[in-house]
């Protein structure tokens, strides 16, 4: 399982990367070890044993750039995000070099150009550690087995309904409407937005909605089409679940909490 990872080392003076099996050099890099620019930056800061609240930005920026050049020379495609960070580091470095001009407004406090980066690093580090925790949990979890699947597991009465089931229900309603003879001519328009709104309101109650009942509220074909599109839109944008007890039966729409 454990593939032999090739390790890289490179000489700070010549900057010529070379691939070696066992490296005694100060910088060991396993290919693809970094999940992103913040990850690389954290690695460099820890390696330098630098104080996160007082990052030696010039040194870290130089090392960061060396690493980027190393990646490029090894034909590892450098993601744009790494370059954005390189630009940020250079910008901070140059701002650190400029004399600080005290304004009258904040005489005591001068914003440290590194502050925003430090905040991002600290925030990122929490999630990096949380990812490690998840990794450990999943490893433990892989050692636990529930019982094997049995035939009845797949014959569950409540099957999930797809678009075609929806269409079938819709067709049923339409054909039922066709038989009725209507006399009134007055037309009441309801927009799609209004329809979605009223459907959302129904869902907000938390009760399951029978699509047959829902469609039956409407009389004209136009309204029915609008209602159908509203259902499709709700399914796409909201956390809802469609279930159908029997084939060609009613489809139930319910919010997922």
């Amino acid at each position: 399982m454990q593939a032999q990872t090739e390790q890289l080392s490179f000489d700070f003076f010549t900057e010529k990367p070379q691939i070696v099996r066992e490296s005694r050099d100060e910088l060991k890099i396993k290919l693809g070890e970094f999940a992103g620019p913040l990850d690389l930056l954290l690695f460099l800061i820890k390696q330098e044993q630098a104080n996160i609240f007082d990052i030696p930005i010039a040194r870290i920026a130089d090392e960061y750039l060396k690493y980027i050049r190393l990646m490029k020379s090894l034909d590892i495609s450098v993601a744009g995000d790494f370059l954005v960070m390189a630009a940020t580091l250079i910008e901070i470095k140059s701002r650190m070099l400029l004399p600080q001009v005290k304004t009258e407004l904040d005489e005591d406090e001068i914003e440290d150009p590194r502050k925003e980066l430090v905040d991002r690093l600290l925030e990122y580090e929490k999630f990096k550690n949380a990812a490690q925790m998840l990794y450990e949990r999943s490893t433990v979890e892989q050692a636990v087995f529930p019982r094997g699947r049995i035939e009845s597991d797949d014959n569950n009465a409540e099957i999930s309904a797809g678009v075609f089931d929806l269409l079938t229900v819709f067709q049923k309603i339409l054909s039922r409407r066709k038989d009725e003879i209507r006399l009134e001519i007055e037309r009441e328009e309801i927009s799609l937005a209004e329809m979605i709104k009223s459907l959302k309101a129904l869902l907000a109650d938390g009760h399951p909605i029978s699509l047959i009942e829902f469609f039956e509220r409407f009389d004209t074909r136009r309204e029915l089409v609008t209602a159908f599109i509203a259902v499709l839109e709700i399914v796409r944008t909201e956390s809802v679940k469609l279930t159908q007890k029997t084939t060609f039966g009613d489809v139930i729409l319910r919010p997922v909490n």
């Binding site: 999940a35 820890k46 929490k126 990812a131 949990r137």
Partner: protein, 175 residues
């Protein structure tokens, strides 16, 4: 062992996913408290018995599963290998989603400092996350949250069982 405890054991055994006390109380027409007491008694029994099985609370329900100690033998019998591990990028993205949900792609980018599109696709494919509607902001970006499968695969009762994100401060605390 009371009959209720025995019946509960039978139902938890046949359920193909963690079964909730709510479901049990509905099916058996018993009070929730009585069901909970029965499940807990059953769990104690599994503990003291010291057998190959455990009764555990996971993803808001109860499940009978093997004990971790015997994973090698179980795996030998099932002829399975541990499934592919998630990449570092996918795990990080999952951590951000688990703690910040519902969360949009731009918000994930903000924290990770790197595009997470392929990680999000992997997590969606593995059903560890689901779309949770759209955020009513510019561009109406899709929001993501963790799924029930996430709780099951990471052995969590519910999201509150995750340690607080502030517990993961490392560098700041070290100084």
């Amino acid at each position: 062992m009371s009959e209720l405890v025995a019946i509960v054991e039978a139902l938890v055994y046949v359920a193909d996913e963690p079964v909730t006390t709510k479901t049990l109380s509905e099916v058996l027409d018993e009070e929730r408290d009585a069901i909970r007491a029965a499940v807990e008694e059953l769990q104690r029994e599994y503990e003291t018995r010291g057998g190959g099985l455990q009764l555990r609370e996971i993803a808001g329900g109860w499940q009978i599963a093997t004990r971790t100690e015997y994973h090698e033998e179980v795996r030998q019998y099932l002829k399975t290998r541990p499934s592919a591990k998630l990449s570092l990028a996918a795990l990080e993205t999952l951590a951000v989603i688990a703690y910040k949900q519902p969360v949009t792609v731009p918000e994930i980018l903000e924290i990770r400092g790197v595009q997470s599109a392929s990680a999000i696709k992997t997590l969606l494919d593995k059903k560890l996350i689901t779309a949770k509607g759209r955020k009513e902001t510019v561009g109406r970006p899709m929001m993501y949250g963790t799924s029930k499968d996430f709780l099951i695969q990471f052995g969590l009762k519910d999201l509150s069982e995750l340690p607080s994100i502030e517990d993961f401060e490392d560098l700041a605390g070290a100084i």
